[in-house]
Each structure stands twice: as C-alpha cells, then as structure tokens.
C-alpha cells in the first residue's frame, strides 16, 4: 500500500511538473503586448524593452523557467496585468477561494447523496418507472450542453421560487440554486454508475444464495449488493471534482458568485495573462490532487486490487 501510494504520488508530482512547464512555455508564445495592458500605446519601443527586461523576459528561456519555479515555491505567481493592475494574483485569488470551496464541497456532497440514492432506487426498480425516469435524466444531463440547462434553471426556477437571479451573500436563499445546478452532472454520473454496478451484482451467485435463504429484497440490496457496488464507485470521486470545476466556471459567472471560476472567465475576457496562468495552474493542481486521492481511496476500499500487479496503468 505504502509503496503504491509513494509511486502514485511521484507520478502526480511528475504530471504537475510537466503541466507547469507546458503552461509556462505556452504562455510565452503569447504576444508581448499582453504584458502592458492598457499602457501599451502610451510607451515607445525603448520603454517597452526596459520593462520587458525588468520582468526578466529577455533572459534565455531556461533561466526564465528556473526563475518561474523559484517564485512559484515562494507562492508568488506574478502580478495581475489588466484585471487589477499591479496587484499580486495570489492576493486576488485568495479572496475568491472560500466561495469556490464552499460551493464545490456542497455540490460534491449533494452529488454523492442524491446520485447514489437515485442509482439504488433505479436498480431496485429495474425497468420500472423510476428506472426510466432516472435514465431519461441521465441522458439529458449527459447529452445536452451544460450551459443550456444551467441557463434555463436560472431563467425559470429563480422566477418559480421567487428568489433573486443573482447570488447575494446576505441572502442564503440565493445559494441553493447554484449549488444544486453545480451538482446535476455529478448526480447523473453517480446514478448511472451506481445503477450499472448494482445490476451487475444482482446476477451474482451470492445474491442467489441470499435469495434462496429467504432474505428479503431490501436487506439483500442494502447489506449485500450496495456494499460491493460501492467499491468501484470510489474511483468516480475525482471525476466529480473535475465536473465541479467546469461547473463552477459556468455557475459562478452566471450567478455572479465571486469565486475562482467567475474570476477565470473575467480574466480571459480582459486578457490578463498572469491571472489566467495562475488559475490554470491552480485548477490543474486540483484535478491532479483529486485523481490522486481517488486512486488512493480506491486502493483502500477494495482489497481485491493487486497493487503489485504489472501494467502500471490505473
């Protein structure tokens, strides 16, 4: 177990290193005007050169990269260019993190509870009404672009429940719809996988034995099938985190929640390179950490997984 965890951790760190380097190099491909913001037209060539040199952008690429990493370890991701000029991006992001965190955790909790519940309901009621209803829900959520149903939820449900369309920190009522919208995708994938695993388990011998012994259906479902079906589900926790990331980008800017997702949209619109770079790095780290935790959880839950086995792939 320990050996596996260490190997997996090293792999995650390597991935992180590769991503940071790629992001850094890609960002250097952008035109240099981006570093000046609105002040570009007011300066002449010499002034621009001086500023670029001052920022270290005239150094050879590998030195720039090393400097970038040095700053990164100190938690310095540079200064914002156009969003809030000259303010360190970490300061801007720090204000936004709590909102994203609360909404993200709330939506993951909702997805887990509702999604697993729905999956169990669908499996117990196989080919019945709830199964069909759930399948329809899963198809709609997975097929239709998220923006479309997010927009319609904001448009019609806010009117229906008489809550303001935009987020307001002082009105807890306005927190509910964004959190629910954010979890719709997670609910759909949990329900789908839970149903599939439970149905797979249904035909196994131990279930037949339990039936033959005369156990009632509910007991078999909860005590026997659910436990076994839950194990492979652990690996979808990271997927939920990824869902929540892309969900948060939409939802936060739709409801004007002052979180990181909304900030990313804003930074892209204002072409604030350093802010975009910082947010991209943060989001990819969250993704990597999420997948790492998912794999470890999976290994903890399921004693059947042979960690010494060859193959190397997850």
């Amino acid at each position: 177990m320990l050996k596996y965890s260490i190997k997996r951790l090293l792999q995650s760190l390597l991935t992180l290193f590769i991503i940071i380097t790629i992001v850094f190099l890609l960002m250097r491909l952008l035109p240099e005007e981006g570093y000046f913001g609105d002040a570009y037209d007011k300066m002449d060539e010499a002034q621009r050169e001086a500023i670029l040199k001052n920022m270290g952008l005239r150094d050879p690429l590998h030195i720039q990269l090393i400097n970038f990493y040095k700053k990164l370890f100190k938690g310095d991701l540079g200064q914002s260019i156009t969003f809030r000029p000259k303010v360190p991006v970490m300061e801007i992001i720090k204000e936004k993190v709590p909102y994203s965190l609360y909404f993200g955790l709330a939506s993951i909790a909702i997805s887990l509870l509702v999604g697993i519940g729905m999956g169990i309901l669908m499996a117990m009621n196989k080919s019945g009404f709830w199964d069909k209803f759930g399948t329809a829900y899963v198809v709609i959520i997975r097929a239709v672009p998220a923006a479309v149903y997010y927009l319609f939820i904001q448009l019609y449900l806010t009117g229906l429940f008489k809550v303001p369309m935009l987020f307001d920190i002082d009105k807890p009522k306005t927190w509910i719809l964004p959190a629910i919208s954010m979890s719709l995708g997670g609910i759909a994938s949990y329900a789908m996988w839970m149903r599939r695993y439970m149905v797979d388990e249904l035909n196994k011998d131990y279930v037949k034995l339990a039936r033959a012994k005369g156990l009632d259906n509910k007991k078999i479902m909860v005590r026997h099938i659910f436990r076994n079906a839950f194990v492979p589900l652990a690996q979808y926790l990271p997927a939920t985190i990824l869902f929540t990331i892309s969900g948060s980008i939409y939802i936060e800017s739709l409801y004007s929640i002052p979180g990181m997702g909304g900030l990313l949209v804003e930074a892209i619109k204002r072409q604030d390179n350093t802010l975009v770079q910082a947010l991209v790095l943060i989001y990819s780290s969250i993704g990597i950490v999420g997948l790492f935790l998912g794999d470890i959880l999976m290994a903890l839950f399921d004693p059947r997984i042979n960690l010494q086995g060859k193959g190397g792939a997850r």
Binding site: I18, I19, A143, I286, G287
Partner: protein, 327 residues
Amino acid sequence: MMIKKAVKQLANNIEEYAEDELFEFAEFNEEEAQRAGYSNYSYWRSTWKVFISNRVAAFLLILMISLLLFTFIQPYLPNQKSPTKIYNDPVTNLPIKNHKPDKEFWFGTNSIGQDLWARVWSGTRTSLLISIIVGVWEAVVGITIGALWGYVRWLDRPLTEIYNVIDNIPKTIILILMTYIMKPSMATMIIAICSFSWIDMARFVRNLTIIIRDREYNLASRCLGTPTSRIITRNLLPYLVSVIMLTIALSIPSTIGYEVFLTYIGLGLPVSIPSLGNLINEGRLLILNPSQRYQLIFPAIVISVITISFYVLGNVFSDAADPKNHV
C-alpha cells in the same frame, strides 16, 4: 458367384455415383440449412434488426437523417435568408432588431437584425462539421494509437505514462489553455478539442486489443508468419467497428458541449461565424427581457434535440452491435 457379381455391381454403382453426383454444387436452402445446423447469421443484419427493433432509436434515426439532409439543403431552398446579412425595414431603412417570430422571419431576428432561422441552421452546419471532423480524428488516431499500444509490447510502458499525464489534467483546462493562446477560429477550436479527445478512445482500444491479442486464432496467425500490420487490420479491427460508430455518434454531443462552453467563457468562434455556441451566447445576453427569450429558446431546442438524439442513437447502436444481444 452371386457374391462376386453383387460386389462388382456395387463397385460400378459407386464409381458412377462418384463421377456424376458426389461433387455437384448444393443449392442453398434455408430449411435444409436450419435442419443441418447451418446458420446464415450475418453480423450486420442482426445488428440492424436489434437496432431497429428499438422504436425510440428508429424514430430518432429518421429524425436525424431528415434533420441532417435539411440542414445541408436549407440554403438552397427558395425564400431562405442569409445568416449574416442585416435586414433593414424598407420604410424606415433601419435594421429590424429583435423582431418577433412571424411569417417573414420564422424564428424572429436577433439584436442586430439578422434572421434567426437562417442562423440556427447555419450554426448547426458549423457545429456538426466541427463535430464530425473531431469524431473522425478521434476514431482514426485513437484506434491507430490504441491498437499499437495494445499490440506492440514495448510501447505499452511509455504510452501508459503519457496517458497518465494527459488523463490527470482536467479536460476543460486543456481546452481553455489551447484556445487562449491561439486566435479564435474554427481551426483553433478543432485543434484544441482534437488535442485530447483521442486519448480515451486509445485507452479503450488498447484494453480491447490486449484481451483479443492472445486468443488462439491470433497465435495461429502469428505462427504462420502473418505480419503485425495484417493481424491488426484483419484480426483486431473488425471488433472495433461498433466502437468507431459509437465514438463518432458521441463526439457530436460532446463537441457541441465543448463549443458552447468555450463560447460562453469568451474563447469560442469569432462572432461572425454563426454556430450553436454563438447563438446560445447571444441569446443568453437577452434573457432579462422575457419578450426576447425566443432568441435563446430556439437554438436551445435545436441543440437539445441534436445532442440527445445522437447520444441515444450511439448508445442503442453500440448495444445492438454487441453480438451477445443478437438472438
């Protein structure tokens, strides 16, 4: 004496029989065949039978074929308007802005006076074109790399490591990064989506290949000296036909989803090209005014119908293509 004669006659008979009738071509007779255990099972016919017996799928298939045909012939039909031209009122000579749907403008006009009906179909064309390019790319690259990955043993480790790295990054972040550093255009969008979409396909094909690779018939093939390329194309790929169809069908809803997402965060196609993402985004800006919501609702309905149909069709087809479901 008698016995000798009989034997001779029998030998003669056999000789005659062998020359005339033993090697006659047999006519195929289904009843006879059934009795002898011969089956005229055809993979594709069975797949089609299972597929079409699902009434929802049959309906959606007809719907999508007619919608695709309509999308591509729509500009050549009479009385169609241009998707990018701004229409002016003949009396006041001002653009007809936010005109409600009526006989002249079937879906109304948008906020600068363009015909929404024409824009919706033009947008559908753009989005479908992108989706199909992405789907074909995904199938071709995914299957090539996946088959090599599974079949060529020394490639397994490096490709698995590459897979682990790419798979660890959130896809939306790759999309954002790629489109952010390039200029907004169709090519940018296609390159950005294609840059990672093949990876899951390759992974899937690799797993399938490893399962099939060591079956006896492949071993026999290899012992007879068949080259790897031929084993891959003849022995492995036929298993993947259903996967290819599923990938292309599912790439349509997912690509449209990516496009809408990118447009929403401001990295989509230029506004001059009508696309479903652009239409949703334009409609979104007007939602505060209930009388103009039709500009969001029409594109949203078209998007939902297309994405749900292809999603369902892809899944039903992949179930139908599984020989276990053939009766």
